[in-house]
Amino acid sequence: MRPGAPAGIRGGGHGFPVRGTAPEPVTSGSGPCPEMEKSLHATLNSAVTLRYVDDDPGAAPGRPPVLLLHGFGSTFELNWVRTGWTAALAAEGLRTIGPDLRGHGSSGKPRQDDAYLPGVFVADLVLLLDELGVERADVVGYSMGSRLAWEFALTRPERVRRAALGGFGPRNAFAGTDLDDLESDDSPFGRLYRAVAELPGNDLAALAACARGQAARPFTEEPAPRSTPLLFVAGEEDEIADGVERLARVSGAAGALRIARRDHRTAVTAGAFKKAVLEFLADEAPISSTA
């Protein structure tokens, strides 16, 4: 922590509000309040271009970087920066790596369904960690990002030290959804699709392809990534996470925390969510499978 910085709070890399890829500094009123800094991005050009943030305060030696995986229709910025997550992680001195997942934000947006199979996302993450020279990361996901964190830990356990899965449960997110008619589908996922479709910068054809690609590989509780310690966190009123307590038990997870009075949209900013994940990632003790 540099001199002059308040305990537990750090300045860099946390801008608000941030729109698109060229965030403007806040100039709210007049007075002695200085402007916010900008977040900086980098680009990984592969088959599909990936935009990501790699922010390292360099103050947590011995701790792996934290890879942040946002939800469907969201972006790194919306899911992790504006919600206070990057500030909370940076205050711990932790390095954060945050891609805009393919189909999202400033990354490439292919329109073929099979460009969005869970395994393809995992290949992107492996490529990103390889590029950054990161052997093993802690992974924090939200919603679809948690589904991908599970897939990552299951198929590449050597790359995932610990994984915290927010806003996620075992139920089929696409139950009752007509994935070929998302514009008028009235299932919970159809409504989510139309809500995120209105966010600036989203490509509807890419998002629909992403939904179909994810749905093509329905989530299954078995096999579970049992060699990676897992923590589940979800809003108490988050129906998308229904059954997460049971999933935590059968997968040998450290636990399933429910956040009071929060739903799928509002749990992500909750202080209790951040605190639980920070403690889970800091805990070096082996997780008992019977906990």
């Binding site: 540099r2 860099g12 709210s28 002695p32 980098a42 050009n45 919600t83 749990a267």
Partner: protein, 109 residues
């Protein structure tokens, strides 16, 4: 050193939305705050956002209660701030530059 008041208004949340609902205050009147310290969580119809403090000072007044709807541009919180304290000088504007641009060969599919 003289004191002044600075009021933070609800910023444009960038989603074409004109209002937000206060989810939870993270500070209370009388509390000292540091720049970038989380102040409040708000929710819109599309997302939840944590608003950090734009300055160091003390919380003088919260202008909305939890559950209240605040429109963009309306007062959110008023701070007492030191007018000529070296607030700006204590926080470097840019300390790290994580930007990198790399080109990889397309992966074998």
């Amino acid at each position: 050193m003289t004191m002044a008041q600075h009021t933070l208004e609800l910023p444009d949340l960038g989603e074409g939305l004109i209002e937000a609902t206060v989810l939870e205050w993270l500070v209370e009147p009388g509390a000292g705050v540091e720049r970038n310290q989380p102040l409040v969580e708000v929710e819109t119809t599309k997302s939840a956002v944590e608003i950090p403090s734009p300055c160091a000072g003390a919380v003088a007044r919260l202008h909305a209660a939890e559950g209240d709807v605040v429109r963009v541009g309306e007062a959110l919180v008023t701070f007492d701030v030191a007018q000529d304290a070296g607030i700006v000088g204590t926080v470097p504007a840019q300390e790290r530059k994580p930007t990198r641009r790399v080109r990889l060969k397309p992966p074998e599919e």
